[in-house]
Amino acid sequence: MSHSEAVMWAEKYRPKTLEEVVNLKDVIESLKAFLKNPATMPHLLFAGMPGTGKTTVALCIAQQLLGPGWRNFTLELNASDERGINMVRERVKDFSRYSKGAFADIPYAIIILDESDQMTPEAQTALRRIMETSSRTCRFILICNYSSKIIEPIQSRCAIFRFSALRGEDMVKHLKYIAEKERLELPDDAAKTIVEFSEGDLRRAINILQTSAVYGGERTIDEGTVFRVVGQAHPKQVQVMLNKALNGNFLEARNTLYDLMTTYGLSGTDIIRQMHRELYRLSYLSPEEKAELANVIGEYDFRLSEGANEDIQLSALLAQFTRFSKSRANLR
Amino acid sequence: MKVLNKKGFRLPYMGTDRFRELTRMGVEYERGSFFIRNLNNVESIKDALSEILSERIAFTQTCLICGKEFLCTDCKYYDACLTRDLPFHCICKKCSQKNDLYEQCVERGKLRIKHAY
């Protein structure tokens, strides 16, 4: 890939082999043992926060196990993209049928199922059966954020690997490496700011880096640019809106919402995601309260995807938050 | 309010973009004069012309019975009409006083078809 070709850097600099992955030493060591003797590899479960290398490692395994034609024998699925477990079953069925022919060359086909903790327990039960019926010809690599959300029967059939978040200095190193390759200057302060905003998610850090480079247009990435980029992508207004709602001030919260939707052009899904994130940062809520509100957000996230009007769904969500403030006040 | 006859009207210079837009909508042009034959999008045309002329536009109506051109503004159903000021056929005030309106419309219609074919 030449430097002049414009692609997402998160993809361009994704390690292609396990050797290239710099951190996760223990994970890599164990996996290498399986790769030496593929028949011994069970299904795998990768657990960890976003941007910690789970998909990368899964793809590396596929490449290393299946050789140059690996794409033909690898199926990538995302739980949120498929409409229900039946679709997953269909796709797995079709896939195993198709890849049956060339099994002489490879030990098995690989199915990477991302966001598996977003599947309901019922769906996961069905998934376990699918894993079983196709285990002669396929190995599953399940990816999730929280392994606790994966049902026991699946966990017991998998080798579980935890992907811990990168340390700050490792992220900075990685970012500087990319900057150098892209012939850019990344001063320390800008790098630190990016790392801060990325919250342990290397992919997001790289996206911020790339966006800042484009936005600033200069050889040197300026810290101010980073702020501006993040502000545009994740404005503080979300926090403001949340606080207003929790203070019982519906109309002002709704105005801020409209602002987010018009001035910042955020979509309903953007806003809900950020509300979810901001919720956990609020110091004046107890964990139980956060959990309860997160449930409400979840409910409205779902309605958002089905409904016709985003502003109605989000206003309704804000109204629920406003009610919450009142009941809290009553308890005091 | 500007009155236009769909069979021929003039417009001030409007630039190539607008001209192309009008043509796409169905307005035709020949020797300095514009006319509209295809009425499928005449509502949009009316709006566009209104913008170009910076004025409300009213097209003339053609009477089904006497054939004369007249305006909607005199009509008693002006407020309720769904297609007012658009260039269609209708019945003018004078003719609407007559008795057997429908029959007359039909007769005139027959003649029009005969003449065309």
């Binding site: 949120s80 966006t211 953007d270 009007n309 502003d311 109204a319 | -």
Partner: protein, 419 residues
């Protein structure tokens, strides 16, 4: 006492007898008579304005035999072919397209065929249009020409509109004359106005009113139509918000002239003014959000879900009926609410997310929250880099424009010019 339907009895037998839409009539005859014409024509317009009537009348005038087919009844290609073939059990289109000279194929209400579920219905129609050697006439109700896009190139489009009031009055006058009914002009005007251009319904209405009577007075017409006068916006809002119960609010809703989409948005704007108490507001909004969800599910097909939308709307305005206090309504809906998330925008966003998802190994949902905000900036300014990036992601121009925030109407059609 007449035992025959007046819409049948007074059906136009010749083109001259069809009232209204003179221009469309002329255009249609022109199409029919010309040898060098597009093989198919699409007559579109609201119900009851004379589309099918025109076809039959013209066929009568110019001696064509009409072979009729209701496209919404037959869905699969096979079924359509069977019916389209003449009575001698021809099943292949080839044989059919020899056509009986002097016949004309009428496919009524093709809107039904162009839904998403149709297996082969669309392609069947296109094949008929392309291969038929006899003229093909299609009719459609739906003004949403967007869905009928595949037909644009193949057909001449002719639009029919609601018939104007003086013409409907004239027609009703003639009917009353023949039926020996003394009708007050004002009564006829009311019927005509109420029909909103739909001649068929006007004729049905007048038959209903004249059943067993010799006179038709203004009061008679008025009594039936007072419900149809309809509540305007303020009456609707006042009625719905001040109603003592959801059932009462429903009566208002039923008699309202407002379309439910506008009503949904208007209620949304006014809820916080009606309910000051956060508890009640939250409850009302929860209900309204459910109404919106159902509205989203209705889409273009599941009309039966609409009843849930309406029911929920009435519930949302009557949460605490005893606590109603008059307030100034917000109307029309605030500008933002007019930026509602249209279906085509949603589909476009899904398309973009799918493209990102497959390139960057993430789900569509993830792409939406984690990539789109950045991509909006990266692709924000036109540059060679941006173009390359877009190409790498596989984004088309529409997607790029959308990410740039261009205020284009997604999916807008270029208006048809003269062919």
């Amino acid at each position: 006492m007449s035992s025959i339907m007046w819409v049948e009895k007074y059906r136009p037998r010749t083109v001259a007898e069809v009232i209204g839409n003179e221009e469309a009539k002329a255009s249609f005859i022109d199409w029919l008579r010309k040898k060098s014409r597009k093989r198919a024509v699409l007559l579109y317009g609201p119900a009851g304005v004379g589309k099918t009537a025109l076809v039959h009348a013209a066929a009568n005038d110019f001696k064509y035999k009409v072979i009729e087919m209701n496209a919404s009844d037959t869905r699969t290609e096979e079924a359509m072919m069977k019916i389209a073939g003449p009575a001698t059990s021809l099943t292949s289109l080839e044989k059919f397209s020899l056509g009986i000279k002097g016949s004309l194929l009428l496919l009524d209400e093709v809107d039904g065929v162009f839904g998403r579920e149709d297996r082969g219905g669309v392609s069947a129609i296109m094949r008929i249009v392309q291969e038929s050697r006899v003229p093909v006439v299609l009719t459609a109700n739906d003004p949403d020409i967007e869905r009928l896009r595949p037909l644009r190139r193949a057909c001449r489009l002719i639009r029919l509109r609601g018939v104007r009031i003086p013409l409907i009055v004239a027609f009703l006058q003639k009917i009353c004359l023949v039926e020996n009914v003394a009708a007050e002009e004002e009564a006829l005007e009311m019927i005509a106005q109420n029909s909103q251009g739909d001649v068929r319904s006007a004729v049905n209405d007048i038959q209903t009113l004249c059943e067993g009577k010799r006179t038709l007075r203004r009061e008679d017409a008025q009594r039936i139509f007072v419900r149809n006068k309809g509540f305007n916006v303020y009456e609707t809002l006042r009625g719905m918000f001040s109603a003592g119960s959801a059932a009462e609010a429903y009566k208002v809703l039923d008699g309202s002239l407002m379309d439910y989409d506008t009503l949904l948005l208007t209620i949304h704007d006014n809820l916080p003014l009606r309910y000051r108490d956060p508890e009640k507001l939250a409850t009302a909004y929860d209900v309204l959000s459910k109404a919106d969800v159902f509205r989203g599910r209705v889409g273009t097909e599941n009309w039966q879900l609409l009843s849930y939308v309406l029911e929920l709307l009435t519930q949302s305005t009557t949460i605490a009926p005893k606590e109603y206090q008059p307030f100034n309504f917000i109307f029309p809906p605030t500008k933002l609410t007019l930026l509602k998330w249209t279906r085509s925008e949603r589909t476009l966003l899904e398309k973009i997310c799918a493209a990102i998802g497959s390139r960057c190994h993430v789900s569509r949902r993830f792409a939406n929250s984690e990539f789109i905000p950045f991509l909006k900036i990266i692709l924000g300014r036109e540059s060679e880099q941006a173009a390359q990036m877009a190409a790498w992601l596989g984004l088309d121009k529409e997607s790029i424009d959308y990410l740039r925030g261009k205020d284009q109407q997604i999916g807008a059609d270029e208006d048809e010019g003269i062919e």
